[in-house]
């Protein structure tokens, strides 16, 4: 099947392209971009994309897919469908599954299920330590061989500094990125909300910024000492952005990401005890939010993730502190990012790069671009499409979104994965 997508605005940060052009596909791969079709190319079908944007399929560094285990809602089949409805075609799933992805068997199970679903590219992240307990190392070589693209501790950071140092040192010789989320569990002290004006008023147990920054300081020193390529996940504090900027200036081989909801929501949203706003790390102050957004603009923050966590209704129907933290975020990643472009002066190229080329480079994979001969993963977006989020209409099994009723400009019309259409917006005419 040869396909030509014509007259769209093709945006590909990997090649620094932003122009009205045609995109040509052949046998599931990108055949080229340009006014003229590649030599010998004749399209079997043409899609007119006049007035539309063509973006590389998004790469999400953190999305829970509900499998294996019943802890979270959804399945690989349902959540990859949700991903492509959000324009995301490559997904890293963290190891906090049940059982934990600390073995070849679980990694292979995830890959098999993803192949059966055939909707998006699923990249398992292996557990750095067995059962994520932070004690004994997982079989890192075996996990890498099985296809894990990175290692992490998900939301259970290693507390013992010696264990972390050993884990990093051992991993350093395996050429695989380690993703670290920084949190000192003692400073967190069972807190559920940012320590600030709101937690003081509401009497919610507090998580001080130092729970993140002091762990980040320790981790940066160990990363420097071991020389490992590290990626810092889901930063939430202004001070963390400064620390990452300093470390990058010093030449450390590090990158970092922020969850998209941290760029829109703050501690103020927790007033009213709505458990949909219960997330890890917690929503922080306005100043923190500003600093994170600024970090994205200046390039200190490399990637934006959905931190998708589909949660059963019953696990949110609890008092704030007892509810499971997390947001069902696959379908709002790109819309919320475009909102930052429309409303907060974020450069479009920087925005798209943070969810395509940058996360792909962090993993050392080739998706997230429209380069010739790469898998034809992309989406077609109507930049003027207006819509309002209705959780009940979300594709994900997790309807836990705090963005109910938010208005967005920019509709994802179609998503292609390996050259095949995998999503078509139900509002489009047949």
């Amino acid at each position: 099947m040869r396909l030509a997508i014509s007259n769209g605005r093709v945006i590909d940060p990997a090649q620094n392209i932003d122009q009205i052009s045609n995109l040509y596909l052949s046998r599931g791969k990108i055949a080229g971009i340009g006014e003229q079709s590649p030599e010998g190319f004749s399209a079997d079908k043409e899609i007119d994309a006049t007035g539309k944007w063509i973006l590389p399929g998004l790469v999400d560094l953190q999305a829970r897919l509900g499998e294996p285990g019943s802890h979270y809602a959804g399945s690989i089949a349902s959540e990859t469908k949700a991903a492509v409805a959000g324009g995301i075609t490559s997904i890293c799933c963290p190891p906090d599954t049940a059982p934990v992805n600390d073995s070849q068997a679980v990694t292979e199970l995830l890959q098999r299920r993803a192949r059966q679903a055939a909707t998006a590219f699923v990249m398992p992240i292996g557990a750095l330590t067995q059962a994520l307990k932070g004690e004994r190392l997982s079989s890192i070589y075996a996990l890498k061989q099985a296809g894990c693209v990175a290692l992490s501790q998900a939301n259970q950071p290693i507390q013992n500094a010696l264990t972390l140092k050993n884990a990093l040192e051992y991993t350093a010789s395996h050429d695989i990125v380690v993703m670290l989320r920084c949190e000192d569990s003692q400073l967190k002290n069972q807190g559920v909300a940012h320590s600030g004006m709101v937690s003081t008023r509401m009497g919610l147990p507090e998580i001080p910024p130092s729970a993140e920054t002091s762990a980040l300081a320790r981790d940066l020193i160990l990363v420097e000492e071991t020389g490992i390529r590290a990626h810092f996940s889901q930063l939430s504090c202004a001070r963390s952005v400064e620390m990452i900027a300093d470390a990058k200036k010093r030449g450390l081989p590090i990158t970092c990401d922020v969850a998209i909801h941290q760029l829109h929501l703050t501690e103020m949203d927790v007033l009213g005890f709505n458990s949909l706003f219960h997330v890890t790390p917690p929503l922080r102050s306005m100043q923190d939010r500003e600093a994170l957004l600024n970090g994205l603009k200046t390039g200190v923050i490399d990637a934006i993730v959905s931190d998708h966590t589909p949660i059963h209704k019953d696990d949110k129907l609890l008092p704030f502190g007892e509810s499971l933290p997390g947001i069902s975020g696959l379908e709002t990643l790109l819309p919320l990012l475009l909102k930052l472009v429309n409303d907060y002066g974020l450069d479009l190229m920087t925005a798209i790069r943070s969810v395509t080329h940058n996360p792909a480079s962090i993993l050392g994979i080739h998706t997230g671009s429209l380069n010739q001969n790469q898998s034809a993963d992309f989406c077609i977006l109507d930049p003027n499409g207006y819509w309002t989020l209705d959780p009940e209409k979300m594709v994900s099994e997790g309807k836990n979104t705090p963005f109910k009723g938010w208005e967005f400009i920019g509709t994802i019309e179609q998503t292609f994965f390996q050259g095949r259409p995998v999503y078509r917006n139900p509002t489009l005419p047949k």
Partner: protein, 346 residues
């Protein structure tokens, strides 16, 4: 920032009157004054005795205690009996791992047993509001303490006690001493005092037990006890819990007493007619010297008595508001019907 409206005050009904009693935040002065005045009507001014009245006859009240309590629970039960309500009390052992479905199922099951009002104590901040959001529209929720968030009836009985001894609150300086950070009682006291426009609210204690953002509460922080209570009209001592020592927030009871214990010498720094309060149970020799606790300026035991009357007041106000609302709605229906008939005739 996108402007987002804060959630509406779910404890008020369409007429702006109390439907639930969850927190003092967001209430107006007239709500508090109504509670204080009603409380007064339940107490015999000469004997301090509390009358038994038939105001809640035929109403069913369930006390749900997800967290152990003796004092608050007992005063609630006595208050309910004096209002002639049918009562049942349940200790519900709950674990954080329990599914929400079963938590709400518990509530709905009890609601199906014809409950008109739930009195709820729970270890999670915001729990009372959570239950209020999920009960049937005709059922009322009364917060008997949720996590570190609020304990509004306790604060109201403290206001009653202050008002009884000192008259209007707006001219008073009040010092609250001890563990402010972890206390739901203090949070509610501060809100009550703010709504009643107290002249000055001070909180006194070591930095580890003070909120990091006092401006969020509208209080002045003192780390020095002598300075903090100098010239005040009311001193409220707060109970110090053992776990504050084990979590390294303060070194020892002995050191706490040396720095913040209320002794006769320190009490002399306050106004000569200052009163001493404590929500109980008191730790003699930790927060307060026995001489002071039992002394002439102490009103600690009175507080307990008033606690019954205040809870009677809140429950009877809520039930009479409900009656008023249904009458109002019935009148509206009648009015609409009348209008319709008039239109037809015309």
């Amino acid at each position: 920032m996108i402007a987002r409206l804060s959630s509406p005050n779910i404890q008020l009904n369409e007429l702006g009157k109390l439907h639930h009693f969850l927190t003092l935040e967001g209430l107006k002065q007239h709500h508090l004054i109504e509670i204080l005045d009603t409380t007064k009507s339940f107490i015999n001014p000469n004997t301090n005795e509390i009358k038994k009245v038939p105001l809640l006859r035929g109403k069913s009240i369930m006390n749900l205690f997800f967290e152990p309590s003796t004092r608050t629970r007992t005063t609630f039960e006595i208050a309910e009996k004096r209002l002639s309500a049918d009562i049942s009390s349940l200790d519900i052992q709950t674990s954080a791992t329990k599914k929400g479905e079963s938590l709400l199922d518990t509530l709905w099951n009890l609601q199906a047993m014809q409950a008109d009002m739930f009195v709820i104590r729970h270890a999670q901040s915001g729990a009372a509001q959570f239950f209020a959001q999920h009960v049937a529209p005709h059922v009322h929720v009364l917060n008997a303490g949720d996590g570190q968030h609020a304990h509004p009836t306790q604060a109201m009985l403290d206001m009653f006690t202050i008002r009884k001894h000192k008259g209007d609150i707006f001219d008073l300086k009040i010092a609250i001493v001890g563990d402010v950070l972890h206390s739901r009682v203090v949070r509610s006291q501060i809100q009550a005092l703010s709504i009643l426009e107290a002249r000055e609210i001070r909180v006194v204690g070591p930095k580890t037990l003070m909120p990091e953002n006092p401006e969020a509460l509208g209080v002045h922080i003192y780390h020095d006890m002598e300075e903090g209570i100098a010239g005040v009209d009311v001193i409220i001592m707060v109970r110090l819990q053992n776990e504050r020592m084990t979590s390294a927030l303060i070194p020892s009871e002995k050191e706490f007493f040396k720095l913040y214990g209320l002794t006769e010498e320190r009490l002399a720094l306050a106004k000569p007619d200052a009163i001493v309060m404590h929500p109980g149970p008191i730790n003699r020799g930790v927060e307060i010297e026995s001489m002071v606790a039992d002394g002439s300026q102490s009103v600690i035991l009175e507080q307990v008595t008033y606690g019954i009357a205040v809870r009677m007041a809140v429950m009877s106000i809520i039930m009479s508001n409900a009656a008023q609302l249904s009458q109002y709605k019935a009148e509206q229906v009648a009015q609409t019907e009348q209008d319709r008939l008039q239109e037809e005739n015309a």
